[in-house]
């Protein structure tokens, strides 16, 4: 069954080349069709359509009752909170990696928050605008503690389990060649099989995106016998994307992320946001809308950021709840920490 599936997916990879050509042709039509009226459409519809991943732990996944959870999901809820003061106005459309761009282009969804890697070609020829990076991901390794390996640079001659036909496989080969190490890859059609093989001892290491590693690790027989190596060998900046052609909507999506990051920097949390509203700090006053007309300039109300924090929380809270210490994934902040705490999350000031 899984073999057949892999076969089918393999076929789709080939088809995706054809598809991309067709997409490029269609983008021209679609881009002109995409009106600069996304916000009005959303308001008259009474809800935001978010393109989401339904099968990625920590980013977009249904819970046992079928409610959406995850970092990308919380981002959409933040958007809904900013516009409607109601996070439940975010409607989620599950998309696959194949149809996500079409769905955005054709207007089926207003924003694509589906752990999509920001690349130059997607930003240009696919007609997307990436707004901000809400998760800095990269490819990582997991090894057995018993190997006593502390760095990926010590993996020379190691057998590495990897899913075939992915950029992960190519990155792996590049990394080993660049560091003049001998590589023995053991490839599998699906990540599930690759992980099983690693668990069964057929490889010394298993590699995939670091965020995925944190979730898949839990399917190992003995989680505590394994360690994720500190090296990240590729850049996978993930962020929400919108269509070309509507700058106002682009701004709203971008500043929703920045509001959450700024809130964390100023120490504003879901719990203390009401107290912070009385703060004398001019930065906080501008962010929460007690001073200036910054929300109006976006086409929203001035307390837009207050609404986001009140309903969803700041970036750090969303991170810890979905992928950090408050979740089973227990991913460290690392690159996703604030800029003044050793990470890369930096937001321009509201003023």
């Amino acid at each position: 069954m899984r073999g057949v599936l892999a076969c089918v997916l393999g076929g789709l990879v080939i088809k995706s080349v054809v598809l991309r050509l067709a997409l490029a042709a269609a983008v021209a039509i679609a881009a002109s069709a995409a009106s600069a009226q996304t916000l009005n459409t959303i308001k008259s519809r009474g809800g935001i359509n978010c393109g989401s991943n339904g099968t990625l732990a920590g980013f977009g996944l249904p819970d046992s009752q079928g409610r959406w959870t995850g970092l990308d999901v919380d981002f959409c809820k933040a958007l809904a909170a900013a516009i409607f003061n109601d996070p439940n106005k975010a409607k989620f459309v599950p998309l696959t990696a194949k149809d996500r761009f079409t769905a955005l282009q054709s207007g089926e969804v207003d924003v694509l928050a589906r752990n999509t890697t920001w690349t130059s070609s997607r930003d240009t020829s696919l007609g997307l605008n990436f707004t901000a990076i809400n998760y800095f991901d990269g490819q990582g390794f997991i090894v057995r503690k018993a190997l006593k390996v502390n760095s990926a640079l010590e993996l020379g001659d190691a057998a590495v389990c990897v899913q075939q036909g992915t950029t992960t496989e190519l990155n792996l080969a590049d990394y080993f060649r660049a560091n003049k190490m001998k590589l023995k890859t053991v490839t599998f059609a699906t990540s599930t099989e690759a992980l099983k093989a690693y668990d069964a001892g057929r490889c010394d290491a298993y590699t995939t995106d670091a965020s995925g590693l944190a979730g898949e690790r839990l399917r190992l027989a003995n989680v505590n016998d394994h360690i994720i190596l500190p090296e990240v060998i590729s850049k996978e900046p993930l962020g929400p994307a919108v269509r070309h052609g509507d700058d106002q909507w682009f701004d709203i999506v971008k500043w929703t992320h920045y509001a959450m990051v700024n809130a964390e920097e100023f120490g504003i949390t879901q719990a203390n946001v009401d107290d912070q509203k009385k703060s004398d700090n001019p930065d906080i006053k501008r962010l929460l809308g007690t001073e200036g007309k910054h929300g109006e300039a976006l086409g929203l109300s001035d307390d837009w950021a207050y609404r986001i924090i009140k309903h969803v929380g700041n970036y750090g809270e969303a991170f810890e709840r979905n992928v950090g210490q408050g979740s089973p994934l227990k991913i460290a902040r690392g690159l996703n920490g604030l800029w003044n705490k050793g990470g890369l999350q930096f937001a321009p000031p509201v003023r």
Binding site: G54, G58, K91, V93, T102, T192, G215, R219
Partner: protein
């Protein structure tokens, strides 16, 4: 007993030739021919080939069944709230299926993302559908003519209003992107099965028609659809179609998949029905014509009843295939039953080494029950309709 009988016989027949008045009590058949041993000898060990097959099958059963029972029942975890309960512990070293996970997730498997407070509507739909199927499937049910109207008109309209919502009568709208799980599998299969048979019959008749335009259309449609994989049809419908029509025209994603699946199944059904049509002797057509029946009456009263009867095994075969093919809608991001399992097994709250196996085992049991049910029912109908042939 036999001693007494003999003495009585002798007394009665004294002085005459021996005539047996009562039948002799038959001896029991030899042990090797009757009873359990005889059955085993006759059915399992009658020839060298049979002996070999029996041994192979027995070996397979011994090899497969005990581990399966151990995994699915004996070592299984039935209660629990998170992955910790399904992990091996010192006092529970071998963990089998994690049914606690399935129990925890059963609502998601059944309803998908359907809003929690609106799920009663899905339950009502299941009841309506079950009632309709029972009415149609029970051949001696009363007023089956009303049943047809209910099944093909009342129920679909009621279900549509119920599931999609109608704000005018107080039912909140639920977009199809929120549908999922068994609901989607049942909707896609039911629509596919219900539409494919009539369209298939029309296409089959069209392909055998003497009107060139009709015949050409049918041939092109059937051959084109049969020449393309279902995945391509779904993929085109969901990825390419929206790019070429304005946003407001773009039909709903689930609707696109429904149309794709129905048309796809129709082409296969058409060929199945055509096989049945060709098996009907020419005399039947000629006889119908001789008594002055029109084309539609010939088909409706004489040919199709016979053709459909002999194609029941193939129709059911296509239906079962369609039921399982509905899982392919996952490729366009529709959360059918299998996809909900796929999404659940990556949930870090439940991720353990055995969770994927548990999920797939549950899916296998689900599909097995439905498909086996369909095939048993078909056998029953077949046997009943064939009663006339057995005279």
């Amino acid at each position: 007993m036999s001693d007494i009988a003999t003495t009585t016989d002798a007394k009665l027949m004294a002085g005459q030739a021996f005539v047996r008045a009562r039948p002799i009590v038959p001896l029991p058949p030899p042990l090797t021919e009757a009873g359990a041993i005889g059955w085993v000898r006759k059915n399992l060990f009658s020839s060298t080939l049979n002996v070999a097959l029996t041994v192979v099958c027995a070996a397979l059963i011994v090899w497969l069944v005990p581990p399966l029972v151990k995994f699915l029942l004996i070592d299984a975890v039935w209660t629990g709230t998170s992955r910790v309960d399904c992990l091996p512990r010192p006092d529970y070293p071998e963990v089998g299926a994690c049914w606690a996970f399935v129990i925890d997730r059963i609502n998601f498997f059944t309803y998908g993302f359907y809003p929690i407070e609106e799920r009663w509507r899905v339950n009502v739909f299941f009841v309506l559908l079950a009632a309709g199927v029972a009415w149609m499937a029970w051949l001696d049910a009363p007023r089956r003519d009303l049943g047809v109207i209910y099944f093909f008109v009342v129920m679909p309209v009621a279900s549509l209003i119920l599931l999609l919502g109608w704000p005018l009568i107080g039912l909140e709208k639920v977009p199809t992107t929120s549908w999922g799980g068994v609901l989607v599998t049942v909707v896609v299969s039911a629509v596919g099965i219900v539409f494919s048979l009539p369209i298939g019959i029309v296409l089959a008749l069209g392909r055998r028609s003497r009107m060139p335009a009709v015949r050409l259309f049918s041939v092109i449609f059937i051959e084109f659809v049969r020449g393309v994989p279902l995945i391509t049809v779904l993929f085109m419908a969901s990825v390419m179609l929206p790019l070429f029509v304005p946003e407001t025209w773009s039909p709903d994603k689930l609707l696109r998949a429904l149309v794709g699946v129905s048309l796809f199944a129709s082409a296969y059904m058409a060929e199945v029905v055509r096989a049945g049509l060709q098996a009907i002797p020419k005399g039947q057509y000629e006889a119908a014509m001789a008594v002055g029946l029109s084309y539609w009456k010939t088909m409706g009263l004489v040919v199709l009843p016979q053709a459909l009867k002999i194609t029941i095994p193939n129709i059911v075969n296509t239906t079962i295939g369609l039921f399982k093919d509905t899982t392919l809608v996952f490729i366009v991001g529709i959360f059918d039953f299998l996809m909900t399992i796929e999404a659940s097994r990556v949930d870090p709250n439940w991720a353990t080494p055995g969770i994927s196996t548990t999920g797939y085992a549950f899916a296998a049991i689900f599909y097995l029950i439905f498909c086996y049910g369909m095939s048993r029912y078909a056998r029953f109908v077949e046997a009943r309709l064939a009663a006339g042939d057995r005279r």
